[in-house]
């Protein structure tokens, strides 16, 4: 597997048997991107992903806004994982500005982050279901996701774009009685997603369809620099919550789910196992959280970074490691802000996995990469 990989799409000779299909951007199986697929009969000869249809220049926009007003903008790429996408930015700004976060706020952040990871994964799972032609698997996650959206709404006051994390903590304290409601709904949520195994994860048709398709070996997963569920499905035990614990993750018992197969079934099962793990983490965090206390350190209205300084923070988001590289030149705006997102890093595996695959495997392999086009385009 260490031979020279095809450089993107460089078809020297186009046979007349080969048909070029534009999958996307207006296609039910592509999301906001285009995959140029060349097929020979039923087999994909080459594949060239063409993202950028939803590129909006978040990084450029961030250079014109101060550290606080960047918050509603930076969560836009992944609105249903908005807490996680803000997390590294907020951690980075805290280091740049030099403030500490109260203990309770750290727990609230962990809960919000885990809830958001579940919300994102449910959405991802719904789309994965519809990509495989399983309409029930679209409707159930889309409905059960509502339980957690309801929690997030109680917590932050918005259903998707929360804008909840700020440097120095979170925007507001938990509403009264939140712990009980959260525990009840999370327990029910866990019960619900366990039921998915009967119709989805243990379904023999699904297993036959996704097992042994798009196999990414451990070496390739490391070499291609994939992250998140793609990496863990290939047998690499790497979870930033465990390896580089931020906030209070080191006080919680986090279990990392790893599968050895590296096929699209494993890649699709890891997020589901992660959701079950998230439920555990939420329960632990609810138990260990200080019952009262401040949740936000007060900050000057326009915080400034210290001199010419750079910081690189990363967290484990729903799609894998999400890094934020902030360069500050002592002004109220960041000099340069770069989001290193899991989707973009996983995209590199797509041409590699799809080559020689059947056309029918294209949606399942593509979506099992846990790829979110909007986030990759930023």
């Amino acid at each position: 597997m260490t031979e020279q990989l095809p450089p993107g799409l460089a078809l020297q000779k186009v046979d007349e048997r080969i048909m070029t299909l534009n999958v996307g951007p207006q296609h039910p199986g592509s999301g906001h991107m285009r995959i140029i697929v060349q097929i020979d009969g039923d087999y994909i000869v080459a594949c060239d992903p063409d993202p950028g249809y939803v590129h909006r220049g978040e990084e450029k926009m961030a250079e014109y806004r101060n550290y606080i007003t960047n918050i509603p903008h930076l969560e836009r790429p992944v609105i249903h994982d908005s807490c996680n996408v803000l997390y590294p930015y907020v951690l980075g700004v805290e280091e740049l500005v030099g403030i500490e976060v109260p203990e309770r706020a750290k727990y609230v952040r962990v809960i919000a982050s885990e809830l958001n990871r579940c919300i994102y994964t449910m959405y991802w799972l719904a789309i994965y279901g519809i990509f495989l032609g399983h309409s029930t698997m679209f409707m159930w996650p889309a409905g059960d996701r509502e339980l957690l959206i309801d929690l997030m709404e109680k917590m932050s006051g918005a259903r998707v774009t929360h804008a909840h994390f700020v440097p120095g903590g979170v925007r507001n304290d938990l509403p009264p009685n939140f712990e009980d409601v959260c525990l009840r709904q999370v327990n029910y949520f866990e019960k619900r997603i366990k039921e998915y195994s009967a119709v989805f994860y243990d379904n023999p048709i699904l297993i036959a369809r996704t097992k042994d398709t798009g196999i990414l070996s451990r070496e390739d997963a490391i070499r291609l620099g994939t992250t998140g569920s793609v990496l863990r499905a290939s047998g690499v035990d790497y979870d930033l919550r465990k390896k580089e614990p931020y906030d209070v993750y080191e006080e919680l018992d986090v279990h990392t789910n790893v599968m050895k197969e590296g096929d699209s079934y494993a890649r699709s099962k890891i997020p589901w196992l992660d959701m079950l793990e998230s439920c555990n983490i939420i329960r632990q965090a609810l138990q260990k959280m200080p019952k009262s206390g401040s949740v936000r350190t007060k900050l000057k209205p326009n915080p400034k970074g210290k001199g010419l300084n750079s910081v690189y923070k990363r967290v484990e988001s729903g799609r894998g490691s999400l890094g934020c590289y902030i360069v500050s030149d002592g002004k109220t705006e960041p000099y340069r802000l770069k989001l290193s997102v899991g989707s973009f890093r996983n995209l590199i595996a797509l041409p590699y996995l799809l080559k020689g695959e059947k056309l029918g495997n294209m949606p399942s392999v593509y979506w099992s990469l846990n790829y979110w086009p909007v986030e990759a385009d930023r």
């Binding site: 095809p6 460089a10 078809l11 020297q12 000779k13 186009v14 046979d15 007349e16 048997r17 080969i18 020979d40 000869v45 080459a46």
Partner: protein, 170 residues
């Protein structure tokens, strides 16, 4: 009623047979060929041979026509609509056709089958099945061998031989 059906079927069959050979597009030609085959099936119905008629529909229209259609679609589009023929050859062919039609027709009309009619009941289709396994059983085995040989031969013929050069483009 039966006469009208006979006339209609004659027109359909012969007309679509000509169309199958003469239409410019091969796809339309295949559709016309399906018309011919269906028309022959209609004649079989009129001849009280529904088993043969439905066999014709299921096998000829249902599978042979599909195969022909599929093969035609595999051919390049320019070729589907291309017409390769010679004017003089065509007129000679029409002459040949008319000669055969007239001479054979005259022979048949003059012969004794002109007055041949029947009022006997039609053959039951179960007799065919009985015939297969009793009187014609060697033919049935032979038939099996022919079919087996044809599918084997067709598969061996149709497979690609330039796999190493073509399949892996890179």
């Amino acid at each position: 009623m039966a006469d009208a059906a006979f006339l209609a079927l004659t027109v359909i069959t012969i007309g679509s047979a000509i169309a199958a050979l003469e239409l410019r597009s091969l796809i339309y030609g295949s559709i016309a060929l399906m018309g011919t085959l269906g028309g022959i099936a209609g004649f079989f119905f009129l001849l009280d041979a529904p088993f043969v008629a439905l066999f014709q529909l299921a096998v000829y229209v249902g599978s042979i026509a599909v195969l022909i259609l599929f093969t035609v679609m595999l051919v390049k589009r320019e070729l589907i609509f291309k017409k390769i023929e010679d004017k003089r050859r065509k007129f000679a062919g029409i002459g040949l056709m008319l000669t055969i039609m007239v001479s054979l027709g005259a022979v048949f009309i003059d012969s004794g089958i002109k007055t041949m009619t029947t009022d006997e009941p039609a053959t039951n289709f179960r007799d065919i099945g009985t015939d297969f396994v009793t009187y014609y059983w060697p033919a049935l085995i032979l038939m099996g061998l022919i079919l087996a040989g044809s599918v084997t031969g067709a598969l061996v013929l149709a497979k690609r031989e330039d796999v190493e050069n073509d399949q892996r483009v890179n």
